[in-house]
């Protein structure tokens, strides 16, 4: 369940895209972990995440942050998304000081995250990388659409929704921000980065044409 792996994009567009999340291990340190997971979310929330979520309860764009934090359970997987490394480092430092004892994971550029870990005084334990997309790749949507949809590793952000949002912005039915937030809604876990989506929308708007009636 590598729901934060395989985010597509150039290193430049993946910069400033950090998912920080936590979970307990089933049957090992799971019992009574809900309070720790709740504390994790409280800490993350202090540093201005651009998204927050728990798969069960939803993300910040469909559920109030307070409710997400309040409803954590032992089986929750809790997430926060940052759009800058300073906030990530501060959150990592705070989590280290809190010593919750549950697993904490960061998704982002591996080299950059390594530096952030060093600055926060934490040590990398295990890493996971993507070896790319294989098979019938001609069936994939356009690369610029994949850069949006792959921000939800459960595949809950449809490629047709991205195309519709681009069209709606171009037709001035929605602002860039509104479109980016609409894209973030189906990603139940809250790992979709709407700020990155805004930046990518600004780029893609110049490349996509729409039919004018």
């Amino acid at each position: 369940m590598s729901h934060t792996l395989h985010r597509r994009g150039t290193p430049e567009s993946l910069k400033n895209d950090y998912v920080l999340f936590a979970m307990s291990a089933k049957g090992i340190n799971e019992v009574d972990s809900s309070a720790k997971l709740q504390r994790f979310l409280q800490i993350v929330n202090r540093f201005g995440p651009v998204n927050l979520g728990d798969m069960r309860t939803g993300n910040r764009y469909i559920t109030p942050s307070g409710e997400i934090i309040e409803k954590t359970r032992d089986t929750s997987i809790v997430h926060g998304v940052f759009d800058n490394r300073e906030s990530l480092i501060k959150a990592l430092k705070a989590l280290k000081d809190e010593d919750l004892g549950i697993s904490v994971i960061v998704s982002g550029l591996l080299g950059d995250v390594r530096e952030c870990c060093q600055e926060a005084g934490v040590k990398r334990h295990t890493c996971e990388t993507s070896l790319g997309i294989w098979g019938k790749t001609e069936r994939l949507p356009e690369e610029e659409i994949l850069r949006f949809t792959t921000m939800c590793g459960h595949g809950q952000v449809p490629f047709n929704l991205i195309k519709k949002m681009i069209t709606d912005v171009k037709e001035r039915k929605l602002t860039v921000r509104e479109a980016a937030e609409e894209m973030a809604k189906p990603c139940q876990c809250g790992v979709f980065n709407p700020k990155r989506a805004e930046a990518m929308l600004e780029e893609v708007l110049c490349l996509w044409g729409i039919r004018v009636a």
Binding site: S2, H6, E128, G132, H154, P186
Partner: protein, 248 residues
């Protein structure tokens, strides 16, 4: 997902919320246009339903019946697998490795995420890849992974035949192998993925070895496959419930 034709007003708002692009239009008995979900392609992810965009509240999820029920359990992250008690398609994999010690020095975690991204996968393709990997011999598929539990023979990778025409948003074939076998697995995946009708994303996990090294990633490069510059890092804040072994 199905559409109640008596309630659908044919507005088409649901079309953009289908992860598989499986919603089209048809005409009902009275000639009215209404949405139509291609049942072969729909993976029961529930995204269109949860989006609450249906003007006539016409979308509904019928009670899941085997074998179609696997579509929802693999495609809707809100449904928890009874085998793993993890919602979604996979396991905790490297996320809790600092606590569980699942991946050790000298090992690599490898996973093939069938149907990811954006295309979905039929079990016939999932089986094809699993069997190709199993044919290498001595492959131990992750027992807690829901795909492994659906195999009728874990030595050959053969899946339950009742599932062959079922489609899921994605499903993960997952294993732990000694580092010496990383390139062999990459080779077989390279070969078999030329024969499938969908895509897959390939994951590689490695415990950080002394000297801040990730030897599995170097082995992938040696096999001609460049790991992406982004990925996941377990930052080791979990309290270990295992004895951390010394590097062999």
């Amino acid at each position: 997902m199905k559409v109640d034709e008596t309630k659908c007003v044919g507005c088409g708002r649901c079309v953009s919320y289908c992860t598989m692009g499986a919603i089209g239009f048809t005409k009902d008995l009275y000639g009215r246009v209404c949405a139509d979900v291609n049942q072969d392609e729909c993976v029961d992810c529930g995204v269109c339903y949860r989006a609450e965009i249906c003007t006539g509240k016409a979308l509904y999820e019928p009670l899941p019946v085997w074998p179609r029920s696997v579509r929802g359990t693999f495609s809707n992250p809100l449904i928890e697998h009874k085998e793993t008690r993890v919602p979604g398609r996979g396991t905790e994999e490297m996320k809790t490795n600092d606590v569980t010690g699942r991946f050790k020095y000298g090992e690599a975690g490898m996973a093939i995420e069938m149907g990811r991204p954006s295309t979905g996968a039929f079990f016939r393709d999932i089986e094809k890849v699993a069997m190709a990997i199993a044919s290498l011999g001595e492959i131990h598929f992750e027992p807690k992974n829901p795909i492994t539990t659906l195999m009728v023979d874990r030595n050959s990778g053969r899946m339950n035949p009742e599932l062959m025409n079922e489609k899921v948003l994605s499903a993960i074939i997952e294993m732990t192998v000694p580092l010496e076998r990383v390139q062999e697995i990459i080779g077989v995946v390279k070969r078999v993925t030329k024969e499938i009708s969908t895509v897959c994303s390939f994951d590689l996990t490695c415990k950080v070895h002394p000297g801040d090294k990730t030897p599995a990633f170097d082995l992938a490069r040696g096999a001609g496959v460049a790991p992406t510059s982004n990925g996941k890092t377990n930052v080791g804040l979990g309290k270990p419930f295992f004895v951390e072994e010394a590097m062999r």
